[in-house]
Amino acid sequence: MPQTRNAAEMLRSVLAAVGESPASYLEAARQVDRWEPAQLGFRQVRVSFVSTFTIEVLLPYLAVEGARRSLAVRSSVAPFGQLEQQVLDPDSAVYRSDPHVIVVAARAGDAAPALIHEFVRLPRAEVEREVEHFVGRLENLLRAVRRHSRAQVLLWNQTMPVRLAAGIADARLDLSQTDTIANVNRRLASVCRCTPGAYVFDVCRVANEVGLARWEDPKLLHLARIPLSAAAQMATAKRLARYLNALTTAPRKCLVLDLDNTLWGGVLGEEGAAAIGLGQDYPGNAFKAFHQELRSYRDRGTLLAIASKNDASAVVEVFERHPDCVLRWGDFAATQIHWNDKAASLVAIAEELGISTEGLAFFDDSPVEREWVRARVPEVQVIDVPADPTRYGAALDESGAFDHVVLTDEDRKRTELYRNDAERRQLARSVTSVEEFLRALQMRVTLCAIDSVALGRVAQLVAKTNQFNVTVRRQSQADIERIIAQGAIAVSMRIEDRFGDNGLVGVAIALEEPRGAASIDTFLMSCRVLGRRAEAALLHAVADRAIARGATRLVVEYVRTKKNAVVAGFLPASGFTPVPDRTGWWQLDLSAGSPPLPDLFEVVERP
């Protein structure tokens, strides 16, 4: 659609010109509003706000920051101060817009003023009671939101008071105000952990970044009930847009890095391993610090890869032997080191990892390479790299490319999982048939119900799985939890093999229907285990459970997308036949029992 490209192109140049000034934000917000999301190819995100203050002031900033992330943010704001009235009433304006995200922003200064203004007077027990009351009130609100809406919830935590009630003596108090607010925040985080689909919006952190001295503008607070200065409004909207993006868009999976002047100073081929900038002093220490930050990305599940025009053996030498090289060769899940074009390298990396190019972000100091990649593989997120290497870490962070609202155990183990994959590929090369390879893997497939511990990972798979996903229903964690609570058949699948644990990699959910049918709501498998025939075990498990409940057939709608063609062969191969007169629907006759299990792995059934 040329129109889409033109509109998006025009808007992009408007957005690029927005400076850190309120006037330019307001001007750009109007430009954003002129377009329909579809004209721009943006994802629409409906957001409902409930707050104890005039949160409307953020909206133009949020519209702009959302647009920078290809989100069309449509906001509605409940009248301030009416937390319970709005949230407890299922017919209130908060729910009417069918929001994707509900933002609950209650300041202690408004909702628990004693903690802020009377702190010195309150005995310890009273402080604890106030905290209990305030947290309990918000917990109650979140429960009501969960009852009335499937939206994801962002709960603001508390910023530190700009001035402490006890002044400079606070830090020496037996129970300080600072500790008390921190305790409120710990409690709010725990409330969110226990509420499906609820996340802390860490505004406390935003205030620390901006600085408490610049956080409030007393004039705005007293004239308009706005507890945020202009600088705070901009920073908060920016962070909120990152959260909205993380809540509604699959994060990138792999960070593809250049080497010369990106992971070390200078050009390896010209200067040699001993002379590159990587070490204790500037500029080498700036690159070393970037390595350290990248290692944290790896630890939280971001795959690292290299796309570099270099001599491969010299590069390996640096990663294996350089004393100040923090990242090691084994930290990279894929490497493309040669003199060919980088756009092709990115495609090759995605292929090697079994992910789509949309899962990639690209970090390269060369503006020429960045432009080249942007033009050739526009779906890759190209990060704007500053000239100054001491700012690389900040640029990567601010890109939001790897923002996750939660971190699962699978995330923490991801690089290891993909490295095990490399060993599996090695094995695949040494055997002659697929069956032989699969047997040699010594897989153990564990099938069990989806419990509350597994729910986070299940929701993540439902949100992210593109290839082996039959119904492609992107349900929220809250939706999934509700369906399961209502008695759906719900199966999770884990796969271990001789190279390690692949983790939770398959999900199937089916609903009982009248006339002996069970209808598959979700049937998916992580791309990590495609080609292992494990889908047969997952189908077998669902069929068994459906039969146990008296079903005689299993029905499913195959929702065809650009990426899930792999499913097309699976259904007929497993015995499904098209349902007459119902386009896209398939059925499996269960009257003769479940489909057979291949004799390629051990299957363990757990309740």
Partner: protein, 81 residues
């Protein structure tokens, strides 16, 4: 101050309220600009502070409801055009 503040003030108003620049002049006031409500007044105040690198008192913020008054306050603050 020799320089005229007015063109810059008018530009800020046009950006904040989304009205054509040539429709903004000395006679422009809260009464003549429809989108100039209490919330966009807040946006205007912080936008003017950023534009002229000044900080207003609450009283000044309340007074600045027309172009003339805005220019007067800015002049009193020593802002240049």
């Amino acid at each position: 101050m020799k320089h005229d503040l007015k063109p810059r003030v008018c530009r800020v108003l046009a950006s904040i309220f989304g009205v054509p620049l040539d429709s903004v002049d000395t006679s422009t006031s809260q009464a003549t600009v429809e989108p100039w409500d209490s919330l966009s007044h807040i946006h205007l105040i912080v936008a003017l502070e950023a534009e002229f690198s000044v900080s207003f008192t609450p009283e000044q913020a309340l007074e600045m409801t027309n172009v003339q008054a805005i220019c007067d306050v800015l002049r009193a603050k020593g802002a240049a055009g």
